[in-house]
């Protein structure tokens, strides 16, 4: 070896070849050619010991610089070609993202249950407990103790389901959740703050707006110093929590077991944009007779009671026009509420 190679020229040629390599195979050939074991540059650098000592420094320095430049070019070209290869492989694996994704089976609580749970949460947050009572009730608890005496039309066979063979007292399917008031007051001393959600029964034929079985929530508060203002405050807060911040109206009405009694409505805008009062609940101050029936002193304790239908609220809220849908177990209906 008499001549020192032109390292710059080698490097330039190699870089040009590397740049021209358009796939990983061509790049490998370039690597073998320029920095492989038998490549001229490799051989020069391998035989540096046989060079005259004055050339060794320069050859080593320039040769290694050339090698580094070539390897850098190889690496970057390799990274680029690999990226391109992966890119095209990915492109070949195109997915139609408009095909439906995997299904996850979604169940739903019944819309009535969903409303009931919300109602319970609101009242639990206000300090009301959730009470419970039997659906098969005595005439006393369902009517008499609530100021609805014998002979009242609500107690007739055409309005109320009676249980056959009730011997000592009239036994019936409760027509309201109000008897839970009586049971609660018979077994606890005031103060009382409870709601009682439950299933009730009235002898209506089934049609789009009537069901012989439906759901109510009863509320009862008895304490010292409770007034009509507290009734209004409680029912207004509750309805605004449940149905949104809308106007609430109370107007006088009549119920046998409260006095004064009121009808409670919320301002509601229908789908035609008309706003009207929508009656949602009945309420009132507990009648002193009811307190007397359960042994509370009406001079010391005052209280209020309210009741409303869960079916009705669920139907209003979800724009369900036929009450029968609630009781048919049709998954096309139920699964909409998941």
């Amino acid at each position: 070896m008499s001549e020192i190679p032109d390292f710059q020229a080698i490097a330039d040629e190699a870089v040009a070849s590397i740049a021209a390599a358009d796939d990983l195979n061509a790049l490998e050939q370039a690597r073998v050619r320029f920095v492989g074991r038998k490549a001229p540059l490799t051989e020069v650098l391998g035989s540096i010991g046989s060079l005259p000592s004055r050339d060794r420094g320069r050859v080593g320095k320039e040769g290694n610089a050339a090698r580094k430049a070539i390897e850098a070019a190889l690496d970057s070209r390799h990274a680029m070609l690999e990226g391109e290869a992966m890119g095209s492989a990915l492109l070949a694996d195109r997915a139609d993202v408009t095909l439906p994704g995997d299904h996850f089976a979604l169940g739903a609580l019944h819309p009535i249950t969903q409303v009931r749970l919300e109602v319970e949460e609101i009242f639990l947050g206000m300090g009301f407990s959730v009470a419970d009572g039997p659906e098969i009730e005595t005439g006393f608890n369902n009517f008499t103790a609530l100021n609805t005496p014998d002979g009242h039309p609500a107690r007739s066979e055409s309005d109320t389901f009676f249980i056959a063979g009730g011997e000592h007292d009239e036994v019936l399917l409760r027509t309201q959740t109000s008897p839970v008031q009586i049971r609660t007051m018979q077994t606890t001393e005031p103060p009382v703050y409870v709601i009682a959600p439950g299933t009730v029964y009235r002898r209506d034929d089934v049609d789009a707006t009537h069901s012989p079985m439906f759901h109510q929530v009863e509320g009862l508060a008895v304490d010292e110093g409770l007034s009509f203002a507290n009734l209004k405050g409680t029912i207004t807060y509750f309805l605004q929590q449940l149905l949104g911040d809308r106007d609430v109206r109370v107007i006088p009405h009549f119920f046998p077991f409260t006095e004064p009694s009121v009808d409670v409505s919320v301002a509601w805008t229908d789908r035609h944009g008309r706003t009207d009062w929508l009656e949602v609940a009945g309420a009132g101050m507990v009648d002193p007779n009811v307190f007397a029936n359960v042994g509370y002193d009406p001079e010391r304790w005052t209280g209020f009671a309210f009741g409303f239908g869960l079916d009705r609220i669920a139907m209003i809220r979800h724009q369900i026009s036929d009450i029968r849908l609630l009781y048919e177990g049709d998954l096309r209906f139920l699964e909409q509420f998941s």
Binding site: L99, D102, V250
Partner: protein, 808 residues
């Protein structure tokens, strides 16, 4: 009740507008359900665009057989061309014309139109289009003496707005227009003229007792019966103003005598009855209970059978009226009537209700008697009716009155404490304000510093009995909208019972697992018990029975949630839904000795077909017994309960050998399994269907008192070892797991089955079971030797306890 506002304004001259009357009545307790406006609105523009017209010419339309082209004089300079399709149109008629700009009663505005190429500058109206009638043939033809161009509103006065009121059951006094007028008086303080008790001249022949006798036998059901006799009565049509008022109030005009009784009732709330005295045998009036099986043919032509609970007004022989409800044809006033017996009576409200319900007959009259009318009211109604009969039917009033009258209850005298008013209502109302309100309502108030002494007027005795009743009156007139809404300071502590928490946990878990909640009717057909295969002597056959069920399909209270869910499956399958999950949380009803029922609550979850995620690349498998047990365990776990499946369930409605008990700590908390094919067939359901039922009370008993404690499976390595054994198939898998667990002591954290096989390589009567034990000591890392020792112990135990052979 329908309240024509012009009639109300006749009773009380009030400065309130129609809108204010509606708003204030609603706010004080007489809810206005709607405002009915009939006819064309009385606006300046409508006075110019609804006009009387005269038909000058009437020619056939050139291009339409059924249309005519009219020329009409509407008082303008030029006749008006109008195209008309009515069959009864003719030259010379006086008609009602609406010209462009008119707003029809429905609200639409009339414009010019072209009908089949001919211009029409208005419309000739029918009575229906003007809302003067509910149906009419052709156009309305008016009286010829009307002048063309007269505003129609002057020629045909509009009936004006009518309020549809909801009168609450405690307010019998508001079932008459005068009672509503008293409400307006109480609201505004504007003067209310009293009802007039004056009678017309009693110039009829003889005395009333010469014409008829009165006997009230059933004084308990008829506290007052008043009768007067009028002679020389001319029955004929009523004057227009009376007809209009009756129709606006929702009643039809019959003849002047009947109309007067209805008119007086609408005004005073006191129903009256007019008899043709010449058709009463005796002539006598006997107020008595009907005899058992006694018959009456009522005015609607129906024969009705009465009983001793029904009160009748009879003549000497037979019933002429079902008291307070409906009359018989023979004694009614007709065109030939000249002598009238007029009844004004008071009947027992509850008895009227029972009779009315029993006969399915409710009338304007019975609706008023139901609420119990005061016995002071009849003289007022009687006086007004007599005045009207002499004025409008030429009647002569026979002197004297028959009046059988029980003692009225004393008017209540009530102490109203000022402090109590504020205490109940939560608002300061002055003693003066409450006194004024009560006085306007008709009370006499003796004002006091701490309390008023209040005497209730006769027309409110039925509902004003106690201090609280007066407080309600003061409050409602003050206005509930004026009372501030204040949240109470709740002094109780809220909580949920364990059962309530469990129900919430399980329902939410079931929904999270893809099942949807159904609510079924709790009353079911008794035949469900047969469909479920419940043996005839089983205690489950003991059901709560409804005595007045709507149908056999709703005859008994359910003993199981399964039939309701199976019916839901049937319904879903009927519209090609092949798979799904449904659950229900609810009570079953077990008759109890005290006549009431035990009402245990349960959750039943049902899977049918191959539920779960299904898509273009997902296909779940059909359910079987293990779907049911697994679901049961997952549900119980939601309440913090570790459950197992165990043999020993024997429910007739489940597959005899593919059902399990679900247990916790060895106690049964539920059942799970495949629904028996015979049951599926009985409910017309296609299998597979599996269910799990968990009883809430049993879950509550097994629910851990403490929250779950964390077990460290993270900081110490857990090793797994697999054991594959062949055991006789009589050995339950749970026993194999139990043996491994016991052999490992505290070191075996968990054991699971990961393979089960009973194919070719397994000897007959045996199964191959592969179990995986997770082994760890919470305190330290175990050596391999220690772990192997555990599996050796387990294998030995399996050999000894269940005859297991290690599978090679």
């Amino acid at each position: 009740m329908k309240l024509p506002l012009e009639w109300l304004r006749e009773q009380i001259a009030t400065s309130l507008t129609d809108e204010q009357i509606a708003e204030r009545l609603t706010a004080t307790g007489t809810a206005v359900e709607k405002v009915i406006t009939r006819g064309i609105a009385d606006t300046p523009s409508n006075r110019e665009s609804f006009l009387v017209g005269k038909v000058l010419t009437c020619d056939q339309h050139p291009d339409a057989d059924r249309l005519h082209v009219l020329s009409i004089d509407t008082g303008h300079d030029e006749p008006r061309q109008i195209v008309c399709g009515a069959p009864n149109v003719a030259v010379g008629q006086t008609v009602a014309v609406a010209i462009p700009g008119a707003v029809m009663p429905g609200g639409q505005k009339l414009g010019k139109a072209k009908l089949r190429g001919v211009e029409s500058l208005g419309m000739v109206c029918s009575a229906t289009e003007l809302e003067l009638a509910d149906g009419s043939d052709g156009i309305l033809v008016l009286s010829d003496d009307l002048v063309a161009g007269t505003p129609l509103l002057d020629a045909l006065p509009s009936p004006g707005p009518v309020l549809e009121l909801e009168v609450t059951p405690n307010r019998g006094d508001c079932q008459g227009i005068h009672g509503i007028a008293r409400e307006v008086h109480t609201i505004t303080g504007e003067p209310l003229p009293a009802l007039d008790l004056s009678l017309p001249a009693e110039d009829g022949p003889g005395q009333v007792g010469d014409h008829v006798s009165l006997t009230v036998e059933a004084t308990d059901l008829c506290p007052r019966y008043m009768a007067r006799v009028l002679v020389d009565v001319t029955v004929g049509p009523s004057p227009d103003w009376m007809v209009r008022r009756l129709e606006a109030a929702g009643m039809r005009s019959i003849n002047n005598v009947v109309d007067i009784t209805n008119y007086v009732m609408l005004l005073t709330a006191q129903p009256l009855h007019a008899f043709d005295l010449d058709h009463l045998a005796g002539p006598a009036i006997v107020v008595r209970r009907a005899t058992d099986g006694e018959k009456i043919v009522t005015l609607d032509g129906q024969e009705r059978t009465l009983g001793t609970d029904n009160l009748v007004i009879a003549d000497a022989g037979k019933p002429a009226v079902i008291a307070g409800i409906f009359g018989a044809e023979f004694a009614e006033v007709s065109g030939s009537t000249t002598r009238v017996l007029l009844e004004a009576a008071t009947f027992d409200g509850p008895n009227i209700i029972r009779t009315s319900l029993g006969l399915g007959l409710r009338t304007e009259s019975s609706a008023r008697f139901e609420k119990g009318q005061p016995r002071e009211l009849p003289p007022y109604a009687m006086a007004l009716a007599c005045r009207l009969l002499t004025d409008l039917a030429g009647a002569k009033l026979v002197p004297g009155v028959l009046d059988a009258h029980e003692q009225s209850p004393a008017a209540p005298v009530i102490t109203l404490r000022h402090q109590r008013v504020g205490h109940i209502l939560g608002v300061d109302i002055t003693a003066d304000e409450s006194a004024i309100t009560l006085e306007r309502l008709g009370c006499t108030v003796d004002r006091g510093a701490d309390a008023h002494t209040v005497t209730v007027p006769w027309h409110r005795v039925a509902d004003l009995q106690r201090e609280i009743d007066l407080i309600e009156e003061v409050g409602r007139i003050h206005g509930f909208d004026e009372i501030e809404a204040l949240l109470p300071r709740v002094t109780a502590r809220a909580r949920l019972a364990p059962e309530q928490t469990i129900v919430r946990q399980l329902a939410r878990r079931a929904a999270a697992l893809g099942l949807s909640e159904a609510i079924s009717y709790r009353f079911v057909p008794e035949a469900d018990l047969d469909r479920l295969g419940i043996p005839v002597d089983d205690s489950v056959r003991n059901v709560v029975r409804i005595s007045n069920a709507l149908s056999d399909e709703m005859a008994v209270m359910r003993r199981s949630l399964l039939p309701g869910l199976l019916r839901a499956v049937e319904r879903n399958q009927s519209h090609q839904r092949r798979d799904g999950g449904i659950f229900e949380v609810g009570r079953t009803y077990i008759p109890a000795a005290d006549g009431l029922a035990g009402e245990p609550e349960e959750i039943t979850a049902l899977l049918f077909g191959a539920p779960g995620a299904r898509g273009w690349r997902q296909s779940p498998e059909d359910v079987d017994v293990w779907s049911a047990t697994g679901l049961g365990i997952a549900l119980a776990r939601a309440a913090g309960i570790e459950a197992d499946s165990a043999p020993g369930a024997e429910e007739p409605f489940l597959h005899p050998v593919r059902q399990a008990r679900i247990t916790a700590h060895g106690h049964r908390i539920g059942i799970a399994g495949e629904v028996h094919p015979a049951v599926l067939q009985a409910f017309d359901v296609k299998g597979p269907v599996v269910i799990v039922t968990l009883w809430i009370a049993d879950l509550a008993r097994q629910r851990p008192a403490e929250p779950r404690k964390y077990v460290d499976l993270i900081s110490v390595p857990v090793s797994t070892r697999d054991l594959a054994v062949i055991v006789p198939d009589s050995v339950p898998a749970s026993r194999v797991l139990e043996v491994v667990r016991e052999a490992g002591g505290d070191l075996v954290r968990e054991v699971e089955v990961f393979d089960h096989y009973d194919g070719d390589q397994v000897p007959d009567g045996h199964v191959s079971l592969a179990v995986r034990a997770h082994i760890a000591d919470p305190g330290r890392t175990l050596t391999d030797d220690e772990i192997d020792a555990v599996t050796d112990r387990a294998m030995t135990a399996l050999r000894e306890a269940v005859g297991a052979v290690l599978r090679s």
